[in-house]
C-alpha cells in the first residue's frame, strides 16, 4: 500500500471547504504552500476561498494542535491531525484546554513522512510510530495496516546504553549548542504557558543567556513539565535550528511514565493527566 499524498490533499480541501461553507467551523488548521515543496507552512483557512491554498505532502510535519489554544474558548475549529497530532488533541482535551465538541478532527492516516533537512523518514524515530490518528471525526484516506517500521522507544537503545558520565557529557555537548531561540517551546503543542517559567523574573528560575547552566535549567524543567504529557510528535527536535535531539529525553521520560502509571500521553480522552492525578493503585516506584 502506498500513500497518495495528492489524494489526501484533495480530501482535505473538500472537507475544509464543506465545513467552512456550512458554517460548522470558522477556522480550519491545515498546511499551506511555503517557499518550496520541502517547506510547507502551517496554514489557517477562514473562508471557503482560502481552501485552494491548502497542500499536503510528506513534509507536512507540523503539529497543528499547537495552534488550538490560541483561539478563544468556544471557537469551532477543524484541525488536520496525523497520528501524533491527534494525541496532542486528546491530551489538550484531558487538560481541559479545548473541548471535544468544539473540534472537527480531520484524521490523516499516513506513513513515510520525511524530515526536510535530512530527508530521513521520521516515523517511529522522532515520532511515536503510529500511522493512524487515535481520534478523528473524518478519516481522509484508508487506515494504514501493518507493523510500524520502528517502535517509539527503539531509538532509546543506544541512548540507554550510555553510562551516567557519558550521558552527561552527551547532553553537555548538546545543550552547549542551544541558542535559546525557544523554537522547541513554540513548536510544542503542550507548551502553551503564558508566561513560561523561564521568562519569569521573580523568582528567576534560570539564567536567560544561552550558556550551559541556564540552558540546562530551561531544558530539564521543560522536560519535567512535559513528563506524562509529551505525545511524541518530534516537532521540538525538528524545530531546533541546531539539531538538539530533544526527542531522546522526552521519549525516555515518556517510557518511564508509561511504565509507572500504565498510560501513555494522549491515548484516551477518558484518561486523566498522569502526573497530577491520584489513583489508589498508583505505583509507589516514583518514591523510591
Amino acid at each position: 500500500m502506498t500513500i497518495s499524498f495528492k489524494q489526501i490533499e484533495e480530501k482535505l480541501k473538500t472537507e475544509a471547504k464543506r465545513l467552512l461553507e456550512s458554517g460548522q467551523v470558522s477556522v480550519v488548521l491545515a498546511y499551506g504552500k511555503g517557499y518550496d515543496e520541502k517547506h510547507p507552512m502551517p496554514y489557517v483557512a477562514r473562508n471557503p476561498s482560502d481552501v485552494a491554498n491548502i497542500v499536503f505532502n510528506e513534509y507536512c510535519n507540523y503539529n497543528m494542535a499547537r495552534y488550538l489554544v490560541r483561539y478563544p474558548a468556544g471557537t469551532k475549529i477543524a484541525v488536520a491531525v496525523k497520528a501524533a497530532d491527534s494525541r496532542a488533541v486528546i491530551q489538550l482535551i484531558q487538560e481541559e484546554k479545548v473541548k471535544r465538541e468544539d473540534l472537527v478532527l480531520l484524521g490523516i492516516p499516513v506513513y513515510g513522512m520525511k524530515n526536510p533537512k535530512t530527508q530521513e523518514i521520521i516515523d517511529g524515530k522522532t515520532t511515536g510510530g503510529l500511522y493512524n490518528p487515535v481520534l478523528y471525526d473524518i478519516l481522509l484516506g484508508d487506515e494504514v495496516h501493518g507493523q510500524a517500521i520502528q517502535l517509539p522507544y527503539d531509538v532509546l537503545a543506544a541512548y540507554e546504553s550510555m553510562d551516567k558520565e557519558v550521558r552527561f557529557a552527551f547532553w553537555k555537548k548538546e545543550f552547549d549548542k542551544c541558542i535559546r531561540c525557544y523554537a522547541c517551546r513554540k513548536a510544542c503543542p503542550m507548551c502553551y504557558c503564558d508566561p513560561c517559567f523561564i521568562d519569569q523574573n521573580k523568582p528567576k528560575w534560570g539564567d536567560k543567556s544561552p550558556k550551559f547552566h541556564g540552558n540546562l535549567m530551561y531544558h530539564l524543567t521543560r522536560f519535567h513539565h512535559l513528563a506524562g504529557r509529551c505525545i511524541d510528535c518530534g516537532e521540538c527536535s525538528r524545530a531546533c535550528p541546531v539539531d538538539i535531539p530533544l526527542y531522546l529525553f522526552h521519549k525516555k521520560v515518556a517510557r518511564e511514565c508509561e511504565e509507572m502509571f500504565g498510560q501513555a500521553a494522549g491515548m484516551s480522552i477518558e484518561d486523566k493527566p498522569a502526573l497530577v492525578n491520584f489513583r489508589v493503585d498508583d505505583s509507589d516506584k516514583i518514591l523510591e
Binding site: Y192, C193, H225, F278
Partner: protein, 649 residues
Amino acid sequence: MSRIGVFVCHCGLNIAKTVRVSELAELAATLPDVVVAKDYKFMCSTPGQEMIVNDIKQHKLDRIIVTACSPLMHEQTFRKVLAASGLNQYLLTIVNIREQVSWVTHDIEEGTTKAKALLNGAVYRARLLAPLTSRVIDVNPNVMVVGGGIAGIQAALELANTGKKVYLVEKNSTIGGHMAQFDKTFPTLDCSACILTPKMDAVLQHKNITMMTSCEVSEVKGFVGNFDITVRQKARYVDHSKCNACLACTEKCPGKGISEWDEGLVKRKAIYIPFPQAVPQKPIIDKESCTFFKKGKCRLCEKACEQKAIDFEQQDTFVQVKVGAVILATGFDLMDTKPLVQYGYGKYPGVYNALEVERLFNSAGPTGGKVTLRDGSEPKSIALLHCIGSRDKNNHEHCSRVCCMYSLKFAHLFKEKTSADVYQFYIDMRAAGKGYEEFYNRIIEEDVKFIRGKGARVTQSADEPGRLVVEAEDTITGKFIKLPVDMVVLSPAIVPRADSKDVARLFNLSTDKQGFFMERHPKLAPLSTMSEGIFIAGVCQSPKDIPDTVAQAYGAAAEALTIVVKDKMELEATTAMVNPASCCGCQNCVRVCPYGAPGFNETKRVSEINEALCKGCGLCASVCPTSAIIARHFTNDQVLAEMEGLMEF
C-alpha cells in the same frame, strides 16, 4: 533589616548527644541579621520560654528561630511565646534538629554539619518572613459518626448526651456491628445482646441522633469545623417512613438469600431484618434474592403490607450533611481463610471460622443456640486453632489480640453446651486485660486441653470418614501430634475492612502497614488523625476487645467535642493564592489539591483558590508550571532563600 534571635535546644541529651549545640549557637551569632544566639538545656521549659521572652524585649527581636524538636511537638508552645511578647506568631521558625538530625545519626560530625546547614537555611528564610493573620471561622456544632458498631454507638450516645446533634452513618440495615452477632462476651460472659441492645435502642430513641442505616459516605468536602459530606442512602425498596415494623411482608416472601448476619450458615428471606433485635426493626429488600427483581413477578410483600410501604421503584438518594467533626468507627473484617488451603476451610464441612461459631452459640442464631455440626450431629471433640493468618509473616504480622480470649470463651461455651473434649492449639496465651488471666485460669479448671503449638494442617481422617485430623507440633514436648476431632474452629486474623483504603482516601487518612487507620501519634494521640477534625475509634484503628473499643469511643467523643464545643476556631494563615497574571490555566492545581480549594474561572481563564478550603499544603504551588501560586509562609522567595542557605554547607 530584621533582628533575629536563635535559640538552640539540647533536649537534655536527645539533641546534645549527636549535635554540638554550643557550636550551633556560635555559628548562628555570625549569620546575617542574627542579634542574639543562645543554647539551653530545655528550651520548652518555663525558664527556656522566659529567656526568649526577655531576649525579645531586651534585643527588640522581630524573628525567632528555635532549633529543637519537630514543629508537631512544640510549634504551638513557641508561637504562644511570640504572641505573648507582642510578635506575630508566624515570625517563628522551628528547625527540627531532633527527629531530622540527632535521632537519625550516631555521628556527631555528621549531626552537627546537618544541623548547621538547616539552621543556615532557616536564617535565610526567616529574613523574608512576613507577619500573617490567622483566619477565624464559624464551627458547625454537629458531628458525624461513621460505623454503627459498639464504637460508633457509644461515641454517638456520648456526644448526643452533651446536646450535640449526631449523624450515625451505618452501611448495614441495622446498627450493632460484630458485637450484635455474639452470644456471650469475655471475660465476664455477660450476654452480648443484654448489654448491647439497650444502647442500640437508646440510639434509636435519642432526639439528638439521626440514624442513617443502609448509608455510605460518598464524598467529603470542607475541613475541620466545616465538613460538607455527601451520604448515599442506598435503596431499601421499603419506605421506612410508612413501615410500622409489623413484618407481615417477611412472612409472605418466597425469596431466599444467604443470611450475612448468620455468616452464611442459613438462608433468609429476600425482604428481611437481619436479626430479631435489629435497629431499626424495619425490613429492606435484597435485590439479588428478590423474586420480583429477578423474575419480574411476585410482589407478595406488597400485597401483605397494609401500610403500602413497599416501593420497588425506590432509587439510591444522596443526602448532604454538614458537620464540624467526624468519628470513624468502621470496625473490621475477618481474614478470608479459604486461600490458606492447609486448614480446609470451605472444603471440609467440619471447619468453622470464629464468627460462624458465635452464631452457633447464639439463641437467635441458625441452630437456636444448640451446637451442632452441619449434619445436625453434636461434636464430640473440638479443636480451636489460634492465630490463623495472624502473627504470621506470610500473612499478617500483627496479633489480632482477641482470639486467645474468645477461644477461651468458646471453650467454656462448648463445655457448657456439649460434652465434647475441647483442645486449644496456641502459640502463646495472651491474656493481658482486667480479669483476663483470671478467666484463663477458670477455663483451665474446666478441663480444657491446651496444646502449645500452632495448628499446622487440617486433613480428613483416613479411618473415620467425616472426621478431621489436626496436625501440630507440641512445642512443650517437642512431639509432632495428629489429633482426630469432629470440629475445627479457626481464629482468622482481624483485618481492616475491605473498603478501608477507599474510606481512608475519602477522609484523607493514612493507613498503617496492616491497613488500619493511622493515628496521629501511637501513644499521645491515638484517636486523632493527620486530618484535623477526623477521629478514629475501635477496631478500625487496630484490633482490640470491647472494653478498649468503648474506652476509645468515649475518648473520640471527647476529642470531637473539643472542636464542636466552640463557636469559632482559628485556622492557619498559611494558605495559597493565585497570581492571575502568571496563570496559564493548566488546572494542575485544581487536579492535585486534596481539599478541592482551587477552581477554574471559565471567564477569566485562570484558577482561583478558595481560601476557606485551602489547608496550605503547598501541593498546588509545586505543580504550577508558571509559579503563579504563592503559598503564604512558603513563598518561592522564602523557599529559594532557605535552599541557598542549605546549600552553603
